[in-house]
Amino acid sequence: MSISRNNDAWIEDLQTPGPRKDAAITDLLAWLQKRLFFYLRDRSDLRSRHDGELQDMSADFAQESVLIILQKMDQFQGRSKFTTWAAKIAVHQALGELRRARWRDISLQAATQDGAFEPDFLRRKDVISPEGSAIQKEAMDVVMDVMQNELSERQSRALYARLVLGEPSSVLAEELGVSHNTLYKLIHDARKRLKARLLERGLSPEEILSSFK
């Protein structure tokens, strides 16, 4: 298998319709599928799956990835090996799908439980360890105050969904009707605000963390 193509050869082959392109696609598919299969087989959350099932999954992921790779060919700048770039796209695609599938399972289970947004999720006495309780209580009050009064509801919800529920960012971005980048900035602004308010009160997150020990 000519996976030993250099970057120029990959680009040329994949952009020359006909047998050269077909051969390059076949090689790329096989290369990705094999690696995705071994990766999936190594994942602890997929231990119960049979090899046949994992083969199917890796074949699907590889196919979807190759379609995306072909669409994005003009974005390949040659800063890395072509196969590294292709593997990056495949990993992003595969792990994105695994996260969404896992989230569907979790949210189905949680539908009857307490998956809903709790704006005052931290204001509970039992969260504070008896050792640095004063500093922790003060910090927690600041955090809850900022979340309820300074951040937009969208920001608080986004932060809660990512941090507390572990909702995948692609799912959350879709729910909020924003791009992935916008979601990142929304949460980043929220984190910056929380940190700034803590620091204004002389409370550094590192110091509060060390009060747990």
């Binding site: 593997a87 595969a94 941090l163 980048n181 929380l194």
Partner: protein
């Protein structure tokens, strides 16, 4: 306190620590996931070549510390590319 309340309070305790760790890692200027992803292939190649990507691409390192999704993808990519070495 019953067992489930105890579980819940240690979950909350973990959550509180997670939030604090996230805040301690928060910087004024951060790469977004898309920006970090753009550099990820270069980043892992440096790493696999035995270089220290942290000194060359420190903002990607910072993003990986704060973003569990990109970190997961980074780790997977390293695993997958290492298969070529074996």
């Amino acid at each position: 306190m019953n067992a489930s309340q105890k579980g819940r309070s240690s979950d909350l305790q973990n959550l509180w620590q997670k939030l604090l760790r996230t805040l301690s890692l928060t910087h004024e200027r951060e790469l977004t996931c898309d920006e970090a992803q753009d550099l990820m292939d270069s980043y892992v190649e440096l790493e696999l070549a035995g270089e220290n990507p942290q000194t060359i691409l420190p903002k990607v390192s910072q993003h990986l510390r704060i973003c569990p999704e990109c970190k997961e993808e980074h780790d997977a990519l390293i695993k997958i590319l290492k298969m070529d070495e074996d």
